[in-house]
Symmetry: C2
Subunit: 423 residues, 2 copies
């Protein structure tokens, strides 16, 4: 294979016809393959079946002097707080245990800022003339969706392997209308970048004009290594406190990709003052999240060390899938110079940047051939990729043989899109 640029127009046309024939053949197979979302696959779910029966009679349901089958304990089971505190490196008192989705905790925090304001808000955000939000991009579509659903103005901040462009962030937070930033600091979604120590220090030490600026620290992949050992990561709460910003940060995590997606438990960690303020609002909304499920997780996961051990079992399922994606890209796309991509050590995605202008068309072709991918543009605010270049590949859900087929089709579609643009 040669870079397309080296081919004559008639060679390109000939290649296009050849690939188109192959594409038509694949379309005829009526495949149904999905690389759209970061969903664990069946083999991963089967790994943790033990959690289904870890509580099997009334005696199992007692913990910390609490019968978890009854009402009470707004902020969650003490043992669940202790487990998350150990995993995140913060204190149990800084933890609020949520339901099956950390997304809900994030959404609710912003909803409460909107209706009531955060601890240092001069007024509820609904009474602000304008709320702006920093969106490191490419980033997580659901984060941007939350901000957009509240009518915020989304400001794109470029990402590098170090994390968000901090020169720009420090400049932008001088605007008091800028109320927060989304961060996925470890194995960022979609690139798999791990924020550098310096980036983290600069984020912790931000001096935003808004007194209620929210550093939304979505530590979604805190124990989610794919290749290699567990990577230690600093506790953002103590870093912010040391930098004089104890109430600026809200950290989120969940067990969605440790046990069962959408049926796990979640946590919001923040300063004790923030906890007191927020629990004063949360008490009207809920008596407590599901403590039976909290105790299931405490008993099944046991400790940080045991959780990391379980994650290594997940990694043994995931690593061959990530390798399949990376190897196929290297083999099929590498020599052609049509795209670059990241080689993440953890997280749930492989981020591909095609030559500008090819992403949307590539995914259109994929859809025709029965391969569903995250929509082009989804990794940017408002769903608009200015370069039409970023594609997020989620290798976890399909079985390995399906993934191989899906990647073959993806690479074919990318080549076709590139040829279409030059023929």
């Amino acid at each position: 294979m040669e870079p397309f640029a080296n081919l004559t127009l008639s060679e390109k046309k000939a290649l296009q016809n050849e690939l188109r024939a192959e594409f038509d053949r694949l379309c005829g197979m009526k495949l149904k393959l999905n690389m759209a979302r970061g969903k664990p696959g069946k083999e991963q779910l089967d790994l943790v079946s033990g959690i289904l029966t870890v509580l099997s009679d009334p005696a199992d349901c007692q913990c910390d002097g609490i019968d978890v089958r009854n009402y009470g304990n707004l902020s969650g089971l003490p043992a669940a707080k202790a487990l998350f505190a150990e995993i995140l490196g913060c204190k149990p008192e800084q933890c609020f245990i949520g339901g099956s989705a950390s997304l809900q905790l994030m959404y609710d925090l912003i909803a409460k800022a909107w209706t009531h304001g955060l601890r240092h808000s001069p007024r509820p955000w609904s009474q602000e003339p304008k709320v702006k939000w920093l969106c490191p991009a490419p980033g997580y579509d659901r984060h941007f969706g939350v901000s957009q659903s509240f009518g915020m103005e989304l400001i794109t901040v470029p990402m590098s392997p170090e994390g968000p462009d901090m020169d720009l962030v420090e400049e932008l937070v001088k605007d008091p209308a800028v109320k927060g930033i989304w961060c996925v600091p470890k194995y960022s979604n979609p690139q798999g970048y791990v924020y550098s120590e310096q980036t983290i220090a600069r984020l912790a030490a931000l001096k935003p004009a808004a007194p209620d600026f929210a550093l939304m620290w979505d530590n979604a992949y805190c124990v989610h290594e794919v290749f290699g050992d567990y990577l230690p990561f600093p506790d953002i709460l103590s870093l912010c406190a040391k930098a004089g910003n104890p109430d600026m940060v809200y950290e989120f995590a969940s067990t969605s990709k440790i046990t069962f997606p959408g049926a796990g438990i979640s946590v919001m960690a923040c300063s004790e003052d923030n906890q007191a303020y927020l629990q004063g609002l949360l008490k009207y909304q809920i008596i407590s999240y599901d403590k039976v499920n909290q105790l299931r997780h405490v008993r099944f996961l046991q400790s940080k060390a045991h959780t990391v051990e379980i994650m290594q079992r997940h990694a043994r399922v995931l690593a061959p899938k990530f390798s399949c994606v990376l190897d196929t890209l290297k083999r099929e796309i590498g020599p052609l110079g049509l795209a670059v991509w990241e080689e993440p050590k953890g997280g749930y995605f492989v981020s591909v940047n095609t030559l500008p202008g090819l992403a949307r068309r590539t995914l259109e072709l994929c859809a025709q051939a029965g391969v569903t991918m995250t929509a082009a543009g989804a990794t940017y605010p408002y769903g608009k990729d200015p370069y039409d270049s970023n594609i997020r590949i989620a290798p976890s859900y399909p079985a390995l043989e399906e993934l191989e087929k899906a990647m073959e089709i993806f690479c074919l579609c990318l080549k076709l899109a590139a040829l279409e643009s030059v023929c």
Copy 2:
């Protein structure tokens, strides 16, 4: 025993001294009894232990072609919708399945009205100069708390055994600032009233000035008979639709007092148009509530008939406790004319109305003697009972022998409070 009014002052003083001595003796026992909240007791929780193991391996976790262990299905598992639809008499498509708390669904509906508006809102409620809310009282303190937490003006509507005073409700909804009403239509909290057919018809046919008026129909006790057979109850959704108000009503229910409180599943039922509108907002907040727990409930509860059967087992535990409360009141308070009370056939409470001015002092004395009760005034908006009269007794949590002791103390404290007021 004679009504205190028939006693001379010195007889009253003598009786007061006698009761006070008894009170001091009870205080010395350092009891710790709780009749504060509608919490099922241990025996009830043990009744439903089967739900803990009803899903025990991966094969159990498949339903409606869905692997409930993974992400997806925002509005919930079809089988869970079908179960709630059967119980409530509405359609599965009208059901959104929530997490472990219907309170959260109610709160979130109002939060969304605040941040985004409901389907027919001219603007988000946060942009309204004033939002008023109708609170049939005595009523449920957590309902009033939600409205109050959003800064609404709460308007008390008197309750009768037929339900809220409908003449007044029909008058009040002519004010476009009145945006909704709280209702617990079957076995009202705290009285245990069942709204009459005529009240329900008038509520369904309301013509509020606000186009986005919300009839909040908290059917918390839909299958919660204590004495006697299951009482059929009309489907409010179809009644509202027939009356030309399809989008006015939001019905809520949960399994909190069927399986495990705070670890069950919940439902919001409303028109399909409302569902489409609300799910368009909810999709930013959550991918889906816990479908593993939804399937646990589907498998364990099976059907309306089987759910009613389980509720009859709960009733066999609850009936002696309700009888204990009612018998003790009749024996100790009845002859004295210090209070009147309801004799509910279902729900979770016995509502007592003391002579005006005695409730707060009675509960103060109870607290001194180690008996915790719902705070006086809690059943009224802003926690202020204009007559200082209503007391909500929750008989479910204590064991029967503890309940007997607690009721003995309660009656003693009521007598003491009454004597203090006349001595």
